[in-house]
């Protein structure tokens, strides 16, 4: 994923603090820096531009209202914003599924299965390489969760394995991903 040069620069955490104090210019800069990532995530997972637009708006309103809850000692602005975006997107996916009564029975294939497709089509080279270093079952569990929006219980049912097995796969896989991806603190994906 390419990232535009922008006015936020290196210290996004300071920008979020300004947003917490009601600084609209700082908010605009955060929007310009993250709108593309947030919208891409929402539309990639939801497969519905209209809903993705609504989720994106929700996310930025939540950033505006909740910037004071961001704790720079705990983590990075990027993590906070993308976690918020993922959470809201997954909420929307679950509402979508309730409406569509999408079958979760493993015997019945789900109609629009973004997850497997997303795992196969992962774009960022760094993410693709990191996922490739997981075991296939770890990759499957993490992919269904992150790109598919499924809960661990749904994944267990879907794969026909005990919940404890799914937890272990997610945990081991995420530890590995954390080592491969999470420690590149100064990273900005540059592909």
């Amino acid at each position: 994923m390419s990232v535009d040069n922008d006015r936020v620069g290196g210290d996004e955490e300071a920008f979020l603090r300004r947003v917490a104090h009601g600084d609209e210019r700082a908010f605009r800069a955060i929007y310009d820096r993250y709108a593309r990532s947030v919208y891409s995530l929402a539309v990639g997972l939801l497969r519905d531009p209209q809903q993705a637009e609504e989720v994106t708006q929700e996310v930025f309103l939540a950033i505006w209202r909740g910037a004071a809850q961001f704790d720079a000692d705990r983590g990075r602005a990027r993590t906070w914003i993308l976690s918020l975006a993922h959470h809201r997107t997954v909420d929307a996916i679950r509402r979508q599924r309730v409406r569509a009564a999408e079958p979760l029975d493993p015997a019945v294939p789900a109609p629009s299965d973004a997850a497997e497709e997303a795992i196969r089509g992962v774009e960022g080279a760094r993410v693709r390489d990191a996922l490739a270093r997981l075991s296939p079952v770890q990759r499957e569990a993490i992919g269904l969760a992150y790109y598919g929006g499924y809960t661990q219980e749904e994944i267990a049912r879907r794969l026909g394995v005990p919940l404890g097995t799914v937890k272990t796969r997610m945990r081991d896989g995420m530890m590995r991903l954390r080592d491969l991806l999470g420690n590149a603190r100064s990273e900005v994906e540059t592909t």
């Binding site: 994923m1 609209e24 593309r36 637009e53 609504e54 499924y150 661990q152 994944i155």
Partner: protein
């Protein structure tokens, strides 16, 4: 759940792969356990990196202006002291209405914008010392309040719960001056979210508000039936 059990769920939590109950359980634990909190932060960093796995799509060009307008709308309301909003809103039972309104964010966009604007107006209004809130009562069960500020002449009907008026019918809100009802708009309740109906009027002129059932879609110039709900102002 114990610290050990929570630890087992942290990866799933960081991936948003837990249901709402489990999520709350984990979050309560994170408040008290710095070890788990630190681990979640690291796991979240890894999860957030997965966002780069989706194809990059530019957001619609109009979205930026929309988001900034929504934020600017909130700015005007944040000047109202929050303590006022909390106190008065609780007194009026509006907390429930406001909580319910956030659901509207995921609804159809035009309705959402209108609702959002109304919500902002409502929050601004209940923040004013001169604002009042009354509950309408009558022959149908429901939760219907009227919030109004005589000084700014702004009012809002807040319908949190009310049964459907029936096919081809709407509820019509009336402001009653002496013996004369004047229409203040029509509405249909929504089963899953509060409905807000903004009203601008010189409230000093009116002694009561009332709601009757009238024919859809526009209602009637004068009430054709006895009010089902009412209250004096």
């Amino acid at each position: 759940m114990t610290h050990e059990e929570i630890r087992e769920s942290l990866a799933a939590y960081a991936l948003d792969a837990v249901d709402e109950d489990a999520r709350r359980t984990v979050e309560t634990h994170l408040q008290a356990c710095s070890e788990c909190a630190a681990e979640v932060e690291a796991l979240r960093g890894a999860a957030a990196a997965l966002a780069a796995g989706v194809p990059v799509v530019a957001p619609p060009p109009g979205l930026r202006a929309q988001v900034l307008a929504a934020v600017r709308g909130e700015r005007t309301t944040t000047r109202v002291p929050r303590i006022w909003i909390a106190g008065l809103a609780a007194a009026a039972g509006l907390i429930i209405a406001l909580a319910g309104l956030s659901f509207s964010l995921s609804r159809e966009l035009a309705a959402q914008r209108a609702q959002l604007a109304a919500q902002e107006q409502l929050v601004a209004m209940v923040g004013r010392p001169s604002a009042r809130a009354i509950t309408l009562q009558g022959t149908v069960e429901g939760n219907v309040r009227f919030v109004y500020d005589p000084q700014s002449r702004q009012g809002m009907l807040v319908v949190t719960r009310l049964r459907d008026p029936g096919r081809g019918l709407v509820y019509q809100l009336w402001l009653v001056a002496g013996q004369t009802p004047e229409s203040a708009g029509v509405f249909r309740p929504a089963p899953d979210r509060p409905v807000l109906l903004p009203v601008t009027a010189d409230f000093g002129r009116y002694g009561a508000v009332a709601i009757s059932v009238e024919r859809a879609p526009v209602g009637a110039p004068r009430p054709t039936s006895a009010p089902v709900l009412s209250s004096s102002l």
